[in-house]
Amino acid sequence: MGFDILLELPKLLWLVIGIAAFMAVIGVLLVLVDRGPKTRRDHWQALCFLGPAALLLLVGLVYPVIRTTFLSFMNGPSTAWVGFDNYVWMFTQPEILVVLGNTLLWVLLAPLLATGIGLTYAVLVDRARYESFAKSLIFLPMAISFVGAGIIWKFVYAYRQAETDQIGLLNQAVVWAGGEPRQWLLEGPLNTLLLIVVLVWIQAGFAMVVQSAAIKAIPAELVEAARIDGVNGWQLFWHITLPSIWPTVMVVLITISVQTLKVFDIVRTMTGGNFDTSVMANEMYNQAFRYNEYGKGSALAVFLFVLVVPLVAVQIRNNRRSRETQ
């Protein structure tokens, strides 16, 4: 049975009904909010406006976070308490140690490379003739899915036997350079590095746009004064540009680090986590949803959470500081 528009109609119908019903509820809410009891403070009004979102967040985030924390101290089917067993398992099982090592490699490399390349490019194309076009080129991968990006790069890494023509660009480049084609995604630890390339490719655009905006916000007088003093481009970058945009660089680094910790789609699409390329988010998915080991999966999720918190804490502190200096 192939594609049949008749089979698709219920989906579109449910889409329309879903949106219409939601809008009707909101419409009623907007009328009710002004008909409520008149009190000195806005109890009733706040309940109408904030209630739906707050309820969803309580049921869908607050409760699950607490429950996941409990589950991480229980066994696979969540029937008995096992203390710290799942955490001990995480740090002693050789396969999981590989996963943790890979995640560390991701977090060390991807944010630095993406931020560095983004910054370099932002500086280089700043006020160039085709600036906005040049920026769109780098920025474009931001719009597409990690799955799409994974397929794009899997094609770049594709392998054909040495006697035949190569179809993957990387192997062709190797052949042109006189080397032997290789199965890039099967050999560790190189394969993890090649997966990291994909995330860098996606995130560099984000890094570039945000840092470019910061560069443009540097006061023109500052740059001009330095120019008059005979400073060259290199010195200008190190002494004026970089110090001026440093807070933004940190924000970008941390934002990408948080994204990197949670990377899942790229690994899933390109290697499925095989050949020693798995990362925490992928392992969490496997444990919880493929092997039904809820305890172990939850422990991995909690550990991920613990890793993300300090990064975001730094982010918030920086935010507050920059707001105070404004």
């Binding site: 904030l50 490019y121 280089l124 905006a213 120019r227 699409t269």
Partner: protein, 319 residues
């Protein structure tokens, strides 16, 4: 909110000046700089171009020759697209998944943007006890990785909620198109913390005098929201809508867990990831399929780039 691209006009005074030697040096470094920029631009564009070109080549050629040979022996076909979109289920049947992606992304976008705008208004302009604490709490929820919420939320749908042996909420046993509901809700929830935060940034910046004047005239909060706040926050609403739409359209994790892989509800990303795993060498399908999934984000990106950039600069951290 600042404009996305504040570009002071480059005047002669900001260009490098100085001695002849300095000028030559500057020109050389400009050349090197341009070369580096071009190299980066090429590296960033070629992989996508290769995929796009390949998707229009006949199967036999994709599998035996590199896409760069296209320039010496160009031969194009739309067959890959026809197969992958409308062909047998085993070759993708992506048209169905395309509709699924839409049916997931569009309602979620409407839900998140609406609920976030309402909540942000309440947090910014209403007076009720605990307001600041609730705001801090929602702000903190941005930190929570999705992974923390997946298992309990899925159990909630599949088994309902049992407290002390009493079934408080029944299990959801949805069939057919109704299963989309089960995907809408997690996506909406996961989009809310950032959505509320972004809308609050914007709505709380509105001039107090405006709101106060309306209040003095006897307008209720509902009326103020409809007639003053909504029209003024259109740019922020558009930015958030774009981001929310793209996140959900591009998401894989939530889709895998709450929609599974069935043709009834699974989105394009889930289907493509599956094809990449099980049919990793069927490049005629993967290239065309990947492009089918990229078309909508690319259209959104090119037509609404201004809003996209603005949203990005307003702080985009998604849990």
């Amino acid at each position: 909110m600042s404009s996305p691209d504040p570009r002071p006009p480059a005047t002669a005074a900001t260009r490098p000046r100085g001695t002849a030697v300095g000028r030559v040096g500057a020109r050389l470094s400009t050349r090197a700089a341009s070369a580096v920029a071009v190299v980066i631009a090429v590296l960033w564009t070629v992989p996508t171009a290769g995929l796009l070109i390949s998707s229009f080549r006949p199967e036999q050629q994709i599998k035996t020759t590199g896409w760069w040979t296209f320039f010496t022996s160009p031969e194009t076909t739309l067959r890959n697209y026809q197969e992958v979109l409308f062909g047998r289920p085993s070759s993708g049947q992506l048209a169905s998944y395309f509709i699924n992606s839409f049916s997931i992304a569009v309602p979620t976008m409407v839900f998140v943007v609406t609920l976030a705008a309402l909540a942000a208004y309440a947090l910014a302009w209403m007076d009720f006890p605990g307001r600041d604490w609730i705001f801090v709490g929602i702000f903190a929820l941005q930190v929570v990785p999705l992974q923390m919420a997946l298992v309990p939320l899925l159990t909630l749908f599949s088994q309902g909620l049992v407290v002390g042996g009493v079934q408080v909420l029944p299990a959801w046993d949805l069939q057919g198109a109704f299963q989309f509901t089960q995907v809408w809700i997690p996506h909406t929830i996961f989009g809310l913390p950032l959505g509320i935060f972004l809308m609050h940034n914007f709505i709380s910046q509105l001039p107090r005098s405006l709101i106060d004047a309306a209040r003095v005239d006897g307008a209720g909060h509902g009326q103020i929201f409809r007639s003053i706040v909504l029209p003024l926050t259109v740019p922020a609403l558009v930015s958030l809508s774009i981001f929310q739409f793209l996140w959900v359209w591009n998401d894989l994790l939530v889709a895998l867990i709450f929609a599974g892989g069935s043709v009834e509800v699974a989105p394009l990303t889930a289907r493509l990831a599956e094809m990449a795993g099980t049919r990793g060498n069927e490049w005629q399908r993967l290239t065309a399929g990947a492009f089918v999934s990229m078309v909508v984000p690319l259209i959104v990106f090119f037509s609404l780039q201004r809003y996209f950039v603005r949203g990005l600069l307003a702080g985009s951290m998604k849990g």
